[in-house]
């Protein structure tokens, strides 16, 4: 019996696979023509079919590749599949008819047995299981966060005791990065937010003929709440992500392990200067943001709503009390600490791959903004209850 198998797509390339039963229990597989991936190749199913359709059980398989032309991985994967099928059926395979290069490559491929334990299972777990796993993972993250908070607290205590080891120049470098270099973006955002506040106030206050109170709204709003909030969010996106990426890359390069092995606390050396820099600079940026916002309110009031410059100035002075500045500064300090905490936490807990660094940066921003929002709510309620 002779079976010829040719893929229709092979077209005029000629017959590539032919099989003949020989000697009662043998199958000869004849390979010919060009076996490359740039054309459709015969399927090994044809060989498996021939193995099971013989008059008697096929016990031996041989190859004839005398007419074989160019070949690549297409032929190799075909042959690997045939060899596996023969092994599963206990059929003896004689590879002598194959070119030497192919025999050597097949030998290499089968030299190391497949690591059965290496295969993953449960990858396609159902939705409920995945939700459960993700929830457990989230709860497992909470102790790590608390531990990190504890480590930072101890580090601050060491700082107060004069025992924390870090380079002050590193802190000033961070101060420069998070302070002066953030001024342009803080200026733009604060100006626009001040402008929005003024328009929003004007629209409502006009109804009761009290447009002069735009000054109160903008001044108290910017100094007490919005200045700190906007600065915190800007810094979370700009600096929190940068902290996570810097520390994450250091984690990938084993630089943090190097600190640990030298007995130097990475928290003291890396986290503390960043925490201090943000706790120092965010309140200052908050004040700056408040002034820029008030400037925007003044320009809108004077040029759009015909309020005189002196009226606006006097109303602002009357509205603002020192406590508003303290509230703004305290919120700025807390937000700065929150952003630094989130950025450093995600960076220090980063995995050891490029993808993990990206995830750490994203997570730092999300965590930072979440913590800022929670802190803002709590502080607003507390200050209200304390009538500050």
């Amino acid at each position: 019996m002779t079976n010829a198998f040719e893929s229709p797509a092979a077209g005029k390339a000629g017959q590539m696979l032919d099989m003949r039963y020989v000697g009662g229990d043998g199958l000869l597989v004849v390979l010919s023509g060009r076996w490359c991936l740039d054309r459709a190749l015969p399927s090994r199913d044809a060989v498996e079919q021939a193995l099971s359709e013989g008059v008697e059980d096929v016990r031996r398989l041989k190859f004839d590749a005398a007419s074989l032309g160019a070949w690549d991985s297409g032929l190799l994967t075909f042959l690997a599949g045939v060899l596996k099928a023969c092994a599963a059926r206990g059929i003896e395979v004689d590879q002598d008819g194959l070119p030497e290069g192919i025999r050597r490559l097949l030998a290499m491929a089968f030299a190391v047995p497949e690591q059965k334990v290496a295969r993953r299972s449960g990858r396609d777990a159902n939705l409920l299981a995945r939700v459960g796993t993700a929830t457990m993972k989230m709860f497992h993250g909470a102790p790590a966060m608390l531990r990190f908070l504890g480590e930072i607290t101890l580090s601050f205590l060491r700082l107060l005791g004069g025992r924390a080891r870090f380079r002050v120049s590193d802190m000033w470098l961070e101060v420069e990065q998070v302070g002066p270099r953030a001024l342009p973006i803080v200026s733009v955002i604060s100006f626009l937010v001040g402008l929005i506040l003024a328009y929003l106030g004007a629209d409502q206050l006009r109804l009761v003929g009290a447009q002069i109170f735009i000054a109160d709204l903008v001044a108290i709003g910017m100094v007490r709440e919005i200045g700190a909030l906007m600065t915190g969010i800007i810094i979370a996106g700009r600096t929190g992500a940068a902290f996570a990426a810097q520390l994450g890359t250091m984690q990938v390069n084993e630089e943090i392990d190097a600190f640990k092995t030298l007995g130097i606390s990475p928290i003291d050396f890396l986290v503390l200067p960043r925490m201090l820099a943000l706790m120092l600079m965010v309140p200052l940026l908050t004040l700056y943001s408040g002034f820029v916002g008030m400037l925007a309110g003044l320009l809108v009031s004077v040029f759009i709503f015909d309020i005189s410059l002196f009226e606006y100035y006097n109303e602002t002075l009357r509205a603002l009390e020192l406590k508003h500045f303290w509230v703004g500064l305290s919120k700025g300090t807390v937000y700065g600490a929150m952003v630094a905490f989130a950025g450093c936490l995600r960076g220090m807990k980063c995995g050891r791959s490029a993808e993990a660094v990206g995830k750490a940066a994203t997570s730092a921003v999300v965590t930072g903004i979440l913590l800022i929002t929670i802190a803002a709510s709590v502080m607003t309620i507390v200050y209200y209850q304390l009538e500050i």
Partner: protein, 249 residues
Amino acid sequence: MEVVPHIEVRGLSMAYGEFVVQRDLAFRVNPGDIFVIMGGNGCGKTTLMRALTGLQRPASGTVLYGGEDFWNAAPEDQERLQRRLGIMFQGGALWSSLTLAENVALPLAEYVDLSPSHIAEIVSFKLALVGLAGFEDFYPSELSGGMKKRASLARAMALDPEILIIDEPSSGLDPLTARRLDDLILELRDSLGATIVVISHDLASILTIGSDSIYLDAETHTMIATGNPRQALQSGDAKVRHFLTRGTA
């Protein structure tokens, strides 16, 4: 009839701004060669690799693949020529967000019209060739240094390239793992008939696998020797012998 070299470099100079790394390089890599680019630290081996693979335009000179000038070719021809190369980077450069199977499958899915099941078969075969059968679902971060190198080699071989360019195959590997990787490179050359360019300063590796070589000198900023590294060890340039004997000759 004269053999058309797989790679021919003529008058190649590479520079970073005003600083010339290497000048006037000229060599040929013939089919089936294992060509070693050797030299000390900072001599420009990796810069040459980048010029050969289309990653960095040289300051002057030409690189010909099978007689076609790479740097003066149209972008689509450059892409076609680059597909004749498989590159194993020094650190593996495996894509960390993809599993090993996805790393090897990506070039196949991009350039070859095959069904996903056929691609999966090829991927498994390539991983089996480098001794990583069964590690398809692992991420690079879960592998040892030697396994990453072998996985990177499997990815480099994904498209059955004519030329394999391998940057520092043995760096960071223990001697036995490095030896196994050398054996793998020799086996691939012998069975696939591939041309292999190896950038290395690992002496054992250079002398074991190299059939031809150039030596790049960091002081004169040019190549000072060519030929079989074992012959260079016996009778070559004094500086090259000094290098190949770790400063004892």
